[in-house]
Symmetry: C2
Subunit: 339 residues, 2 copies
Amino acid sequence: MRVAPVATLEGVAALAGVSKSTASRVINGSPRVTEQAIMRVNAAIAQLHYVPNRAARNLVRRRTQMIAMVIPERTAAFFADPYFAEVIQGAAMYASSTDYTLTLLIESEADAEKTHRFLQSGSVDGALLLSHHSSSATYLELSRSLPVVFGVRPLDDIGFEAHTVDVDNAAAAALATQRLIDRGCTRIATITGPLTATAGRDRLAGWRATLEAAGLVGDPALELVEEGDYTPASGAAAAERLLARGVPFDGLFVASAQMASGALSVLREHGLSVPHDVAISTIDNNSFSTDTKPQLTTVDLHTSDKGAEMVKALLALIAGEAIEHETWIPIELVERGSA
Amino acid sequence: MRVAPVATLEGVAALAGVSKSTASRVINGSPRVTEQAIMRVNAAIAQLHYVPNRAARNLVRRRTQMIAMVIPERTAAFFADPYFAEVIQGAAMYASSTDYTLTLLIESEADAEKTHRFLQSGSVDGALLLSHHSSSATYLELSRSLPVVFGVRPLDDIGFEAHTVDVDNAAAAALATQRLIDRGCTRIATITGPLTATAGRDRLAGWRATLEAAGLVGDPALELVEEGDYTPASGAAAAERLLARGVPFDGLFVASAQMASGALSVLREHGLSVPHDVAISTIDNNSFSTDTKPQLTTVDLHTSDKGAEMVKALLALIAGEAIEHETWIPIELVERGSA
DNA sequence: CTGAAAGCGCTTACAG
DNA sequence: CTGAAAGCGCTTACAG
């Protein structure tokens, strides 16, 4: 089907009546070329629709001007949480203001090695990791040969100095929990994220520490904690379990807005009014925290800023600059109707 | 920070005691090498953690073994609709069974040219397009120099033979609408998607044609049609407008499950029971059609199959095979509680 | 089966 | 300011 004779630097140079060297110089914006050469080369480029061959350029420059964010193959589940798309958008918008191209690399489940080889083959100048399927050890190796910035804190601190950009999850949970305390709640339950990941654990720890500081902790065995997986359905199920315990509570901190929206429906179905009977506070400021009635009091994680900071850190790393190993994104309480 | 001395083919060959040619042959699985050479080269590769340089390989092969799906920079809005993530997942899973790597290329809004140059520079062997910001004309040009498969039908048929993989949207709407008719609805309203795109128009046309065929069309001026933008909030707003008209209806076809979930809440708030007072049918079988009560009767578009077929078509194109210009993905009605 | 050589399409010192 | 030349790291006819 395609016959388009791909233009080459040589062709451009010939048409412009200059050498390849000169043609290359005007293409790369070198100052050491005459105005006339510039005009003639540009005319030739336009006429031939010339676009420099990336492979050749990358080979000689040892640079691709490309960075990749690695995402899991189960994109449907991954993007069901608006959080990730928001990080990516922040990263993309920042990247587009630079001369790097951001690409999302889909990690093959069947062949994780494929992705690693790709990353190690010099296809990109650096990588952004948001969630890691593969063992941290594998990524350790990766970050030895390639600049890498993590958007999540690895569970097992393997002691290598990874560069990470993240939010203080415990502080976010504390902020949301304190809000409930401040409005007078004395019996505060929580729905956590998966406790197999640091974010879930840290948020639970933040909730607990805040209750302790307020002297609101009773018998640990009676702690009102249910675990979810960040989906609305899991939030609803957790709320059902909480109610089924028969222990009354007047405040509920839910570790994500997605789960909170599910939990809210359940509370209302059970005839509980929010915030009157139960006040709810959560984390994540997105459509899940504004599409409900009442809207949710939440902690804005400045998620798109996180994406931008990840790219910023990665480009610094690529440029060989010495940067902090940890970058913390500021958070902020947003007060709305639910608490 | 990184000092990792990148291994090269030359190093591998030297360590294995063979020529670069032989080393290259074993790497590429050539049959014309002795068992011994294979072993020694593989040992050297393992020892040096060697990974072939992509740029060099691409340059000589004139192939990258990479394909890209172009997605808009506004990833948050894009992925809010689970539809796209599902297409991508289907594409990714299919791709991972091949030796192509699928990448999501984020189109820069500020500099759309950047993306095009990237695509034309030989960075990938082909491209998948799901939604097009840029004018169709630009993509016309692109598909002249690069195999391209579209996942959406361009609005303005510019007369070039694009390769597209899509679903029959009018048929899907007809299926959903007929379901309402079959269950006895006689006054059927609809909430459409944006009528600026073919999918939105085709679904509206399918709804209308089905009503006509059933002799259920009254005064066109009284047609119960409201437009949404596929978000739950827009579905809710459209439902409010529909109710505000004061014209009773007993059936509602909503062009997407996302909008249907929003519309459903509104109907219930107004004291209408579904499906008793108003039966609802929709399109898209995802969490939005199962997280509601009742669950939604819907048309499954086999969206992940669509992603797989897009990749399949693209690879065929890349391989130089002659393929159909249009591939239609089969659809299927899924009966649930709402209609 | 194996190696020396050419070449993929660029960029960039090096002379001039 | 410009051009000839070397070289980026591979693959692949071409001889042997």
